[in-house]
Amino acid sequence: MRKIYFCFKKMVNYASSSLKYKIIGVLLSIFLSFLPGMVFAGIYNSELKSSADLTELSIQDLMEIEITTGSRKSQTIANTAAAAFVITQEDIRRSGVTSIAEALRMAPGLQVAKIDANKWAITSRGFNSRYANKLLVLMDGRSVYSSLYTGVFWDIQDTLLEDIDRIEVIRGPGAALWGANAVNGVINIITKNSKETTGGLVSAGAGKEERGFGNFRFGDSLGENAHYRIFGKYQDRDESKLSSGRDAADDWDIYTLGFRTDWNPTATDSFMFEGNHYRADEGQTITNASLSPPYSTDIDEKARSDGVNFLFSWERFLSNTSDLKLQIYYDRSRLQQTVLHDTRDTYDLDFQYRFSPWDKHEVIWGLGYRLTTDDAKSSFVISIDPDSRTDDLLSAFVQDDITIVENHLRLTLGAKIEHNDYSGFEFQPNIRALWTPDKQNSIWASFSRAVRTPSRAEHDARTNLLVLPPGIFPNTSGFPMIISNITGDDFDSETLYAYEIGYRNQISKSISIDIAAYYNEYENLRSSNYDYTATFFESSPLPPHLVLPVYINNDVDGHTYGIEVSAEWKPVLWWKINPAYSFSHMNLSKAEVDAPDTAAPRHQLSFRSAMDLPMDLELDLWLRYTDDVSDLDIDSYCMIDARLGWKPTQNLELSIVGQNLFDSQHQEYKEEYLNSSDIEVERAYYFKVTWHF
């Protein structure tokens, strides 16, 4: 808390010293002048959203509430002018997945590849990599996009899967609301309100690959209007196989502990406070370069990732068209491995306010401030200079949702402006239109600009990828030669102009289809340029050596296009089928320049079937096809997962799950930087017992 206080004090002190802080000052004063009115307006309103709230009302008030008929959910997804997909709790449970990363394979347009037992490459609409940098991910509103490297470390994004309410996946830019790095998509992982998780849950299981796991949760009420839950989980996973058939050194275990409390002191206010702590010990093999023979050694090590985070939010319901939300979070993440130790603290404050200033207009605006401080301990392989740094991120957005023809045509205009310490000001607007000719059909289109901002590593890191021994081609000199990734202050943001279009049709009560297509134009994509003529001599560290620099620049432009189709069909009450197909194509301007992070399969197919059988049995099958990734020399593969579940009583569930059943092992991806071995994903199965009490 002292640190938070300090950062705000600093913010105010600087408020007149520079343009940036002048802006903060203006934003703060706007915020403060609006706040009292918003806080005290609409203390009471009869249109409320939960049953606990409703019971507070009198019968007269209840009689005034209007019911919206039918399934609002499918209507509202149909009313979204973006490529949206929702993975529900039921989808997660029935898929048999044991991590959030694996659950994302259900969403069309995403490319999910497992690099090794504890690393994933996940992206939306191309550009996959372990450090895939164009997909923003949030858990209950807390960004888990790494500001050290770009991208998301999926191994540590964990919570009790049973307590996830849903995972909302938006493909395409969401930057006008969410800010930088929401370039090709946004994922929001939303956990259940603790009101919905009262009671106990214990589950445990074991099998091949999942060596053993255990979960517990307990929730209860805290007086009249408050609830809480606490949870813990532990997972121990087996190593995968190298393509040679030998075991890789990537076995790992992770535990996560957490809590969430929700409090509704009045009918219009809801407060939420949650916290998580995790620690993972993860096996990996890294290529450690050095200046003395043998110059490059593969070492097996256990890397440790741990962290803690707290999030507080307050929402006030003002009227049917107006509400406000304030959110504060703190996140510490720490990574300890041979080549780098990094500790990172993030403080984030966000505010948003929604209101209807004129008839047919619904306006949302918001302000955000984020402070990141870090402390890195460099090694010969990765050196970060300066080793400690404090960065600010300021943002403001506004969006107007305009009803042009009631129930038929809507236009949304929005933009976000933000300032970061690497690329300065960024402006990210979008325009979206939604046409719903009738209740079954909807057509949408959008145009957006989004940016991917430089990360700390892209700005301040030098990576010594490889040391070539003296006299070995192309190092004809008598000195060892380091091949080094060298970044610099001029590395700038990558820019996207996205054109999207989509169509949805609720063909009948049991069949719906969703089609989205895009054309994305990229500028200033990251490139790495070898330049032999730029080779220079360096005497520190000893012994003296040559450096062949690989400069990180913004030299690649290009475009991608693609189409995603997903459908849902319930032929009978007890059977649900979800097919999905994604196509993406990439065309980059400078093929001779090495552009990392560009590899993704062209075609992907997913076919899920969920059957409720007699005797309380559930049978789930999930077939996936992924095209080859020629850039990385990875073959196409077709896999099937199967799950058989049995609920002998309401409180007990037994299940057996088999994963990747078609092949004993297959490769999905490669780590590009520090480990070049070919690691493959193995066939797996596990048995699980879940008990609710």
Partner: protein, 173 residues
């Protein structure tokens, strides 16, 4: 970043699951509120506060779910408990029984068992009070109203306060 994904366009998306069952939430809130306006005879397990206030339900999972969400609230100083009823054997100890419209075929059996039983019956089926029930929900456009059968209430030894009666759409004597 705060904005819920829902506001990428419609705000309501994030509350979708809540809107889904708005009607059930409303009915649950009505049922909870009705209890405040009804007096049970002393014999109906009302003498001690450590016994729960029990609402039994035939059918309709959604209303059951909504009522379960407000369990632990108190009604007349007693903890609210929800009991799922599949046959007429477990009705003992119930103060209120909600009979979903889906149970219309079993209504006569249920009401016969409930005769003179000190239990308030509520339902959303058509013409419920004509069939002998006590409070029947009526859908008027997009709002919920209710009818009261005072005669049936008296037969069940229940007193309904006049302020509730004044809100009823129609009263059967």
């Amino acid at each position: 970043m705060v904005p819920m994904i829902s506001i990428i366009i419609p705000r309501s998306w994030s509350y979708s699951s809540e809107y889904l069952s708005m009607e059930s939430k409303l009915k649950a809130a009505f049922i909870y509120n009705f209890a405040k306006f009804v007096e049970w005879p002393a014999s109906a397990g009302n003498d001690t506060t450590d016994q729960p206030f029990v609402i039994g339900i035939f059918g309709d999972d959604r209303v059951i779910k909504e009522l379960m969400a407000i369990e632990d609230k108190t009604v007349k100083g007693k903890k609210l408990r929800v009991r799922i009823l599949s046959n007429t054997k477990r009705i003992n100890g119930c103060h209120v029984i909600f009979i979903s419209a889906s149970e219309e075929n079993n209504l006569i059996t249920i009401l016969n068992t409930l005769k003179n039983s000190d239990i308030l019956t509520v339902s959303d089926m058509n013409n419920f009070i004509e069939k002998g029930g006590i409070i029947g929900f009526v859908r008027m456009e997009n709002k919920i109203r209710f009818d009261i059968n005072l005669k049936a209430a008296e037969e069940s030894n229940l007193k309904i306060r006049s302020d509730l009666l004044s809100l009823a759409r129609k009263i059967k004597h």
